[in-house]
């Protein structure tokens, strides 16, 4: 099977207008370097980073925010750094879109509320081969999946907590969660979490409003 890699529509170097490039959609390639800012994704776009390509929000918003529906977003080989928002300092996904995070690092993110690094309350997120570290929030420091979102995680490492809430469907395969995988529903629905392989030694399923945790 051959893999078709789309060519870069635009190749950025530090100092270029990142938001304008992202708004144009297509494949946006990032040369090594630090790109300051917090960005909103409103078009089908692939962010492809060379080694050393860093998006740095400097504490002023989520590094990447997706609120629109029906988008196809792909983030490859990027470091998302120093985001801060009420939730999802690294990535805030609130729209019914498909987002793939592949071979990325999310670090130094903070949330004043939930989900320091990643907050997903709608849509579908796939995380592969990525690393989450030095992120902070009231709970779910590295990732929170809530609402009716679907999150698939494979071959990734989380230095802190991952949380599944509400009716989220979360599958964690061959990944390491060094903190707690925290599961909690409401009185009307609960999340479903499937763990297959990897190392997820601490799972907390709320006894009062539980979810379903399946280990394969």
């Amino acid at each position: 099977m051959s893999v078709v890699v789309e060519e870069c529509r635009v190749r950025l170097t530090p100092g270029d207008d990142v938001q304008a490039a992202l708004s144009g959609g297509g494949v946006v390639c990032f040369s090594a370097g630090v790109y300051p800012g917090a960005f909103t994704l409103g078009a089908n776009v692939t962010l492809r980073g060379e080694p050393g390509a860093v998006l740095d929000a400097s504490g002023k918003g989520s590094v990447l925010q997706i609120s629109d529906d029906d988008l196809q977003i792909r983030v490859e080989g990027m470091t998302l750094r120093n985001g801060h928002n009420e939730a999802g300092g690294g990535l805030f996904l609130h729209g019914w879109s498909d987002v793939i995070v592949d071979r990325c690092v999310v670090e130094g993110a903070r949330a004043s509320q939930a989900g320091g690094a990643v907050y997903v309350s709608a849509g579908r997120l796939t995380v592969t081969g990525s690393e989450f570290r030095d992120n902070a929030g009231r709970f779910g420091q590295d990732l929170i999946a809530t609402g009716a979102s679907e999150v698939t995680i494979a071959g990734s490492r989380f230095a802190s907590d991952v949380a599944a809430r509400e009716g989220a469907v979360v599958r964690v395969t061959d990944s390491t969660v060094s903190g707690t995988l925290d599961v909690r529903g409401t009185t009307t629905r609960g999340p479903t979490v499937t763990i297959a392989g990897g190392s997820v030694p601490r799972v907390r399923n709320d006894a009062n409003v539980p979810g379903t945790v399946i280990q394969q």
């Binding site: 928002n85 939930a114 009716g167 009307t188 479903t192 009062n208 539980p210």
Partner: protein, 519 residues
């Protein structure tokens, strides 16, 4: 309301995980307090013991045990002489029909105190708890429940008749912060507390870190009072309220959820008519009723006290998708028109303030001779405190190099570390807070104490003149004079002054709007 046992079970290939006991991670304790901690600083209430420790209990899920439905402080449901319609006491708390290990509620018996038995047959005494105290079931035997409940400054375990266990949301606790411990118990508030004329200024957040919710309720009330009026109904015959929320199940798919709560609210034993959380004594109570229903839905006051997201809360109240925007992406000349448009459209708007700011450069150090230097950091407001790990000390002349603090969010004090520093400390909290003392290695210190400059990040009040509090949600009220934005503090007090577009962009880092359907 759906019961937990309607949820999908593990299939034959898989096994349901028996989740091990976990305690909350220590690293996030400071941030977890949020604005509730600030409120604790400024209110005069005395600290008191917490209710029940969730983390001390395992999460093994026992089978539900169904017992005869009860209603009333101490008696089985009565029936009329004809054996038809049951007589319901509208002043009685709601009682669950099922009991299971891990279930949270309250012990309400209608007496001042309740006795917990040592054994499941009711014999012996395990201790006494205040009426209305929060409780968690740890075992079920016949019609008796073994519960854990707060008594004084500790949790006790004992047996009690299931008829005294009320279906109430778990009361918020914080064992790590004594200033937020409480002896809150459930007390009935009398009367009809429907939102007759709901408005933003009804919001009065209490000792709970749920500004996201209280702000969202206030914002929806500002944009569409009818949405709030339609959401809360009162059943006089049962004395209960039904609160409608919406659950987002997919794109353009919001399903209504009705949560029923009784008229009991957590409050201190010494001031039963003053709710501990949302609502003020003598004020309107619809926010408190909505908050209680939200807490019940989500698993407890302790759950919503951990914080939440404004965009989600607003859409759960209105049933309409919220929109989020990043203030950092707005240009200054876009800010006022944006809020004017929101006002024109009738949008509910909530905005969140960033959680820290950088201090100005200070030269606080003095030396009494030798290599030791001491200084006191100046805060711009009495509520402000150093964000540990952010202190940077530099010798402007270069001789002593630089130094920094090493400390965590929960630490009372930290160390000062630097290549030329022999020993040093900083006090973050308590007596002597904001004091730095450090000793340089021989010959490595600065020539003059005034050569040492220090800068740090702080949490607390982000703009003293405008009284904008960090890590806090505000409700947009109006554009004032076409050039400034007026926000409302959901505390119901410490209201900010209007801010300019530039101040908005400097202070706020999250922004969500919702356009409720107008009935």
């Amino acid at each position: 309301m759906l019961q937990h046992d309607t949820r999908p079970r593990a299939n034959a290939r898989s096994r349901a995980v028996e989740a091990p006991e976990e305690s909350a991670p220590a690293a996030d304790k400071q941030t977890r307090l949020g604005n509730a901690a600030l409120q604790a600083q400024i209110q005069t209430s005395q600290p008191s013991p917490a209710a029940v420790s969730n983390d001390e209990l395992g999460s093994w899920l026992g089978d539900d045990v169904e017992l005869p439905s009860k209603r009333g402080p101490d008696a089985p449901e009565a029936a009329t002489a004809g054996g038809t319609a049951p007589v319901v006491d509208p002043t009685a708390p709601m009682r669950p029909s099922k009991f299971k290990r891990g279930q949270k509620g309250a012990l309400i018996g209608g007496t001042k105190t309740l006795e917990l038995a040592e054994k499941s047959d009711g014999s012996g005494s395990a201790g006494t708890v205040n009426d209305g105290v929060g409780a968690e079931i740890i075992a079920v035997s016949g019609t008796m429940l073994q519960v854990q409940a707060r008594s004084g400054d500790k949790n006790i375990e004992g047996w009690i008749d299931s008829g005294k266990f009320a279906d109430e949301p778990a009361i918020n606790i914080d064992e790590d912060h004594p200033e937020l411990r409480d002896d809150y118990g459930y007390h009935r508030i009398s009367g009809d507390h429907l939102p007759a004329d709901p408005k933003t200024t009804d919001a009065a957040q209490g000792y709970l870190g749920d500004c996201f919710l209280v702000a969202s309720l206030a914002a929806i009330a500002n944009a569409s009072p009818q949405t709030i009026k339609d959401a809360i109904t009162y059943n006089e015959s049962t004395g209960t309220y039904s609160v409608r929320f919406y659950e987002e199940k997919g794109r353009n798919n919001f399903t209504p959820v009705q949560i029923e709560v009784d008229a009991y609210l957590p409050g201190k034993a010494s001031s039963k008519d003053d709710p501990a959380y949302a609502g003020d004594k003598g004020g309107v109570m619809w926010v408190a009723i909505a908050e209680k229903a939200y807490a019940k839905w989500k698993g407890g006051y302790d759950v919503i006290g951990e914080g939440g997201v404004m965009a989600d809360a607003m859409q759960e109240i209105s049933g309409v998708k919220s929109l989020s925007k990043q203030p950092s992406q707005m240009k200054e000349d876009e800010v006022i028109p944006f809020f004017q448009q929101c006002e024109k459209d009738g949008r509910a708007v909530c905005a969140g303030v960033r959680d820290n700011s950088k201090s100005d450069e200070q030269t606080p150090f003095s030396s009494s001779g030798g290599n030791t230097f001491k200084g006191h950091l100046k805060q711009s407001h009495e509520w402000n405190h150093v964000d540990p790990g952010t202190v940077r000390i530099t010798d402007t002349q270069g001789k002593a190099g630089s130094a920094r603090d090493v400390g965590g969010k929960d630490d009372e004090s930290g160390k000062i570390s630097g290549t030329n520093v022999d020993d040093g400390s900083i006090i973050y909290k308590g007596a002597g807070h904001d004091t730095i003392e450090m000793t340089y290695k021989d010959g490595k210190g600065p020539d003059n104490a005034s050569d040492l400059k220090v800068q740090f990040s702080y949490e607390g009040v982000m703009n003293v003149q405008k009284l904008i509090i960090g890590d806090h949600a505000y409700v947009f009220q109006s554009v004032v004079g076409g050039k400034e934005i007026q926000f409302y503090n959901p505390w119901g007090s410490y209201q900010p002054k209007s801010v300019t577009a530039a101040e908005f962009l400097d202070l706020f880092d999250s922004l969500s709007t919702n356009l409720p359907n107008k009935a």
